[in-house]
Symmetry: C4
Subunit: 214 residues, 4 copies
């Protein structure tokens, strides 16, 4: 196979991988909102009116906003990675597939958290919620390590310094989410606060993009 044909073949493969992933990200992020429904419990409505009933759904809004922001950041990261990742292979497709599976599990974890955030079971809900996020951070890291090791799946003209920058940026994700996961066993509220902090922190422009736009 000639070099140019190989290059085109690789471009096609990455393109469909990105398109498929974009589709899953887009559906998962939109499905989060499916849990937001008009309140219909007669007793709550009678006691507090619609405004009160809507306000009483704050755990849903918090969980929704947090999960939306988190999936959005994951998408931004995914998008950034595929600026430097230019090739794909079977194992990488599976890793990416596993990442997508974790992403599609986020609406579930968000649903559990929003139902149980207020009450005695909040700890179990937060253990599960932060566990899914930990899994996401680990999978993302594994993808990057696999793709960048020996420049296995990187483009030919990628700057070594950029690769090191991304590696440095990625180093702490799993550790920080492991901390949030561990903290959930001690305090659900503290663990959730850490998850919020991490989402806001990763949303700040100082993250990966800095290395990208040097």
């Amino acid at each position: 196979m000639e070099a140019t044909e190989t290059a085109k073949l690789e471009a096609t493969e990455t393109a469909r991988l990105e398109a498929f992933s974009d589709g899953v990200f887009a559906v998962a992020i939109t499905l989060l909102a499916l849990d937001l429904r008009a309140p219909v419990q007669k007793d709550v409505l009678n006691a507090h009116g619609l405004a009160g009933a809507l306000a009483g759904e704050w755990p849903q809004y918090l969980a929704y906003a947090l999960s939306f922001l988190s999936i959005l950041i994951m998408w931004v990261n995914h998008h950034h990675l595929f600026i430097v990742i230019r090739r794909t292979d079977h194992f990488f497709l599976l890793l990416n597939g596993f990442l997508l599976m974790v992403i599609t599990a986020i609406p579930f974890a968000t649903n559990v958290l929003s139902v149980y955030l207020v009450g005695s079971e909040k700890q179990t809900a937060q253990v599960m919620f932060s566990g899914v996020y930990l899994l996401m951070a680990i999978t993302f890291n594994a993808m990057w390590r696999y793709a960048s090791a020996g420049k296995r799946l990187l483009g030919d003209r990628i700057d070594v310094r950029k690769v090191q920058d991304i590696t440095r940026q990625f180093r702490f994700g799993p550790i920080l989410y492991l901390a949030a996961f561990g903290l959930a066993f001690a305090s659900a509220v503290a663990s959730l606060a850490l998850c919020v902090l991490l989402a806001v922190f990763y949303a700040l422009p100082s993250s990966i993009t800095r290395a990208m736009h040097d």
Copy 2:
């Protein structure tokens, strides 16, 4: 990094941003229809038959058509903006992400409106509904202002007059939706009528496109 490579990199970034946004728009606009279900309330069916029960669901159809048209117009606008916006940066990705979050909240606001449009709680429902639309108009404006300020994210060969035209078109959106939001506190029906008028007005070909096709 060479100029051509930068250009290609930017094209790729905008392409995935548009593809992801298209995905969210497409899912959100289709999910609106999930609320449309066969009526199954035995008492309504016995009293009015299926035709009567379907006709009795008119608030759902009105809210559905209004929200569909509004999301469609947002998509058309998004589409038009990205003819002139050619670059992206981290903050703009977040702004766009926030816009998508507001878009995905529209099915929720539509659901609340369609459930409470008839009855004593219509005012709260319309305050919320018009509030989401106000937020959408503000976010869209912020995106355009951020992208166009100093031609920050515009293509190099964009006509200054076109930018001014778009800016002029966008100026009144937030003010008009603020009026609809304020009106909701006085009269839900008047506020909803204004929302319908605005959607129809923005759907008219005289809007942004005129500037585009000069």
Copy 3:
């Protein structure tokens, strides 16, 4: 604006229109399957077992298969049209948006039909079902007439004979679906049978594609 830039601009506009439409088609066609659920009615399960309960859901399967095939054919047609349609304008975007709104209403009409296909209300359900299909055929025709009139939105190098072939193929759609709609007032079963026949007929390779591949 130079000719090449205009051409590129038009290509971009059609590309996003197609991508967005593909998204809506894909979501709508997949959402059809959301109505297919494990039967959970205890009395049916006790009397007939799971196999009997699943078999008893045949109206759902019929409505699902018919709607899936119909949306698929619409997508194939849409796809074929955009081989010759190369430009877009504001009014055409709205027409296409209205088509998508009708497409997203199909899962609703399908749901109503599958719930009421067996029973005394089947006529109302079929009037609604065939009415949505009639609307779809009319909208599709309007799109083609608007785009092809004076070659308004067609590519520059399109063969006149091809345009005539498509126009001929499209001529009978609205009339045939009008017949199905009218028939629904006389016999729901006959009208539904005609809808099935039309879907199968349009799925046959003799349709538009023949003109395409001459």
Copy 4:
């Protein structure tokens, strides 16, 4: 029609077919997770707590993971096929449409399996589940046979040996899923175990990709 224009036309047709299919794959794979919901049955929660209630939903997780992996593998295969398939015709569009219909039926079959995996009706559920998978394998095979017969829809510069490799890889899919389907009548658990084995086997990098990357 000139050769270059034909080539471009074909590229466009395959591109939209792939984009539409990607959309359906992405929505179907994400909808699988819609069944994963916070447990709300009071008696289960009182007896076992949230952790116990979540753990008790293991049939859902198993069915979810299995179906996710299976749809993912189908997507990878689809993706691989379209590296060599470069043209399309009306019949192939219909075959691909039928494949997508089977794919969208998987969340239904998964839902039935997860509800009835524990209990006396597991056999019926597994007959249905494996039946859908058998249908998927047959359809995929039919697509490949139709496309590759006489190189009907293959690119002009495709290596004959590669075509033979894919044909060899595809030969056993329908037979193995037929075995799983037949086994379901004898033992639901054995049939399900075979389905899991097949999914894991096809996920191994030794499959199609080996032939692809020779």
